[in-house]
Every structure is written in structure tokens, then in C-alpha cells.
């Protein structure tokens, strides 16, 4: 009995470094395995894909808000790349926005990298607006004319010199708006943009913040939702099956996420079994 108790005590109070090593191996090793290649898209991710196809049919540009910084880069950058790949492969023009100062150069680099893959030209096929504070006012002004807030694009050229923008003025000239963020910014887009100007809106967010957007999906204020690494992988899966585009970081990261989640679930189960056994033993002793 005492020997059993000793083991239980040892396992229940196991050094946290052991837990850390196990989680490190479960997350790091899968990067050297083959990436996940098949994943079933949810209806909200499929809705985003279909809307992008609709943008290609109507030949209207889209807006993507790159509102993330390095802390949420791992989840949101694969999403941004997948969306940009879809847009550029279907010749959809993209206007990039940013309201997170730390994410400005990340967004510019991501847009440039994906544009290069498809031979797209800055100013003609895509353009990026610089960071501005007071996003609520910028979003309200955008409903009338974005030139009220922006006078030049990210690289410093006046907006008059950008051919892509010549016939564009406000939300009505774009097919939809997508915001990628781990912050509250998608809610701001809904409050100041969707409520007043009624454009089609999609959010790409981190998995932990996904729950707060479901009311907007039900109310129709949001037409699609991409959540976390899995959402990015689902979008990549759609691109692979329907457009034969190669998969990216989303699929690659899913192997790590799979093993990470499984290890955490196993920890929860083992921890509870040990707790239950310990409690029964204590009751028997009493």
C-alpha cells in the first residue's frame, strides 16, 4: 500500500520539467514528419472560399485587414497566405489594411512574398495602406471615401499614382472585407463598418478568440469564419482540391497541433485518473 502511495505521490507531483520536455517533443518532432494532407473544411471556411470565388466572378477587389503581430503570427500568417494565394491565383485585386503598429512590416512582407509567387505587381494587383491610429474613425471614413484618412500608400506614393485605386472609393467598390486578427478588431469592423455600410465581412482569428464571433455569424453580420491553424489548414485543403495549389504552413503546423492537443488530453486523463485513485485510497484509509 505504501509503495503504491509513493508512486502516486511521485506521479501527482511530477517535476514540471518532465511535462515541459514531453510537450516540447510532441510539438517539435512532428515538424519533421509528413504534413497532414487531408482535412474536412467546416461550413464557415467553405463560405469564405465560395465568397472569394464570387469575387473572381464579379471581378471586384477585396480588402484584407492584417491586424496581427508576432504573438499570433503562427496561427494567422498561414491564413493570410492561403487567402492571398486564392485571391492572386484568381486575379482578384487586394487592398491591405493594418491597425496594429507591430504588424505593419509583417503584413507588407507577407503580401510581397505571395504576390511574387504569382507574378503580381504592387500598385496594379495589390496595394498596402500604412498603419493609422484611431481605427474606428478610419473605418467610418472608409464608408464614404478612404482618401479622407489615407493620402499615401505604405511605400510612400500618393494614392493618385496607384492605378489599382483609380476607380475605388469606399466599401461598395469591394466585394468583401476580411479581417485577420487575434484582437477585438473584427468586432470594431462590425460595429463601425458592417452595421452602417452593410458590406460582406469575414473574420480570421486565433482559435481561442473564435467563440466570441459566433453570434455575428448567426445574425448574418459575418458571412464566414476561419479559426486558428485548423482554419488555415482547411482553407489550404480547399485550395489543393479545387485549384490544385500547394499546401502551406497551415497543413505543416497541423501535425504539431495534433500531437500537442493529444498530449494535453492524455495529461488531463492521467491527472484525473491519479486524482481519483488517490481520493479512493485516502477514503479507504479513513
Amino acid at each position: 500500500m505504501s509503495n503504491k502511495n509513493k508512486w502516486l505521490d511521485y506521479l501527482l507531483n511530477i517535476d514540471r520539467k518532465v511535462v515541459y520536455v514531453i510537450i516540447f517533443l510532441s510539438v517539435a518532432l512532428p515538424f519533421f514528419l509528413n504534413p497532414v494532407v487531408d482535412i474536412q473544411p467546416t461550413k464557415w471556411v467553405s463560405a469564405v472560399y465560395d465568397e472569394m470565388e464570387e469575387a473572381a466572378r464579379t471581378n471586384k477587389p477585396i480588402i484584407i485587414g492584417f491586424d496581427y503581430d508576432p504573438s499570433t503570427l503562427a496561427e494567422l500568417d498561414p491564413m493570410a497566405k492561403a487567402l492571398l494565394r486564392h485571391a492572386f491565383s484568381r486575379n482578384i485585386k487586394v487592398l491591405g489594411l493594418n491597425f496594429i503598429a507591430n504588424g505593419t512590416s509583417l503584413a507588407a512582407t507577407t503580401m510581397d512574398d505571395v504576390a511574387k509567387e504569382f507574378g503580381k505587381e504592387y500598385g496594379k494587383d495589390y496595394v498596402f495602406f500604412p498603419y493609422l491610429p484611431q481605427y474606428d474613425l478610419v473605418l467610418l471614413n472608409f464608408g464614404d471615401n478612404f482618401r479622407k484618412s489615407y493620402t499615401q500608400e505604405f511605400r510612400g506614393q500618393p494614392l493618385e499614382n496607384i492605378p489599382m485605386l483609380s476607380n475605388l472609393q469606399n466599401y461598395d467598390d469591394f466585394h468583401m472585407v476580411i479581417d485577420l486578427s487575434g484582437t477585438k478588431l473584427p468586432t470594431i469592423y462590425i460595429m463601425y463598418g458592417v452595421t452602417r455600410y452593410h458590406f460582406k465581412f469575414v473574420t480570421g482569428c486565433t482559435a481561442v478568440s473564435a467563440t466570441e464571433y459566433f453570434p455575428y455569424l448567426q445574425s448574418g453580420q459575418m458571412i464566414g469564419l476561419i479559426t486558428g491553424m485548423k482554419g488555415a489548414a482547411e482553407y489550404e485543403s480547399l485550395l489543393k482540391t479545387k485549384l490544385n495549389l500547394p499546401t502551406g504552413d497551415g497543413m505543416r503546423g497541423m501535425a504539431s497541433q495534433t500531437w500537442g492537443h493529444l498530449v494535453i488530453i492524455i495529461f488531463i486523463v492521467i491527472g484525473n485518473i491519479l486524482y481519483y485513485v488517490r481520493r479512493r485510497m485516502n477514503m479507504e484509509i479513513k
Binding site: R16, V19, Y20, I23, F24, V27, V36, D38, I39, Q40, T42, D69, P70, S71, L73, A74, N102, T104, S105, L106, A108, T109, D112, L132, P133, Q134, L137, V138, L140, N141, D144, K148, S149, F154, R155, R196, A207, T211, E212, F214, P215, Q218, G228, K230, M254, Q257, T258, G260, H261, L262, V263, I264, I265, F267, I268, I270, G271, N272, Y275, Y276
Partner: protein, 212 residues
Amino acid sequence: MFFKKTVPFIFTLSVGIFSFFYYFMPHAFMQDLWDKASQWAIIIGGGAMFVGVISMVRAYYKRATNKSDPNRYFAMLTIVCFIAMTVIGLITGIKPGSLFNDIFVGIMIPCEATMFSLLAFYIASAAFRSFRLKSFSAGLLLFSAIILMLAQIPTGENISPAIPWLKGWILDYPNVAAQRAILIGIAIGSVATALKIILGIDKSIYAGVGGK
């Protein structure tokens, strides 16, 4: 007190009333006024960031020069890094390809991503030590967490199609009900707070009044 309390109150009241009427009256005159006001606000927003920077430097300078503070070297490092990045940014610019951007991409991104990824280790450790089936509420939380974690990986679909379905049900019904209640509560609270500030009932926002 006139400039600290009365003048800000007059400004707040006028801007509050104007913003309210602008939203419901899309008249050309209101639009012109709004355009100018919003440009001012964006400029003031930029200025506020500058004030924040001054405040940060003052706070860290105070700590860096306090010889009894054992963490003063971190404060010194913060000030040195701040000055270095400002000077480099002013000289080389901040666009991709500049030294400023290279430092940001090479140091800031890995550091911030590392800090965030440490969460995985803490969550795993906490899951093992503290996530216990001690009551019915804890059981609900445990059950939902396991279903959502399984549904967020391809293994969930492979185990059973019921897992993604159950995840959808949890998110679409109990989650939306709770989120709506929270959202409505926040909205009513925000309206009440805004009205208190606009009408001058809540004076804690004015300089020298807060905290009293």
C-alpha cells in the same frame, strides 16, 4: 479647476452630441464637420502615442537611476534599445529591407513568438495538475474542453464524425447564448458609461480628478 474640469466637460458634451447627431443625420454640413473632426482625431491619436512614449521613457529613466532598484539594468536596457531603434528607424526608414525592419524581423518576431508559445507548456502543466473532475461544473468544462481540442485536430474527425458535430453544437448554442448575454451586458454598460461621461456625471476622466 476651470481648465481641468469645465473646459474638458464642454468639449466632451459638444463632441458627444455632435457624434450622436452625425450618425443619424447624413447631411452634407454634418459630413464636412465630421471629416474635419475625424482628421483632428487621427492627428491627436498620433500625438497621444508620443505622450505615451514620453511617459514610458520618464518611468524607465526613474527606475534606471534608482540605485536601490535591483532591476535598474533592465530599465537601462529598455532605454538603450528604445533610443537605438528610434535612431536606426529615423536614419534607415522602416520599410522592408531597412536595418530597422531587419532588427524587428530578426529579434522582435522570434522573441514575441517565443513568449506566446510558452503558453503551450504552461497549459500542459496546468492540465496535468489542476484540471480535475471535482464537481458537475468542472465536469462540463472538462468535457467541452476535450471535445473542442479533439475537434480542432484531424484526429477528432477520424475518431467519430460526432466530435466535429458536437463541437459545432457547443459553439452554436450554449456558446452563442452566453456570448449574446455578455455582449448585451457590455453594450448596455458602454452606453451607460458613455452617457455618464458625455453628461459630465462621471468626472473621473478629467485631469486631476481621477482617483478622488
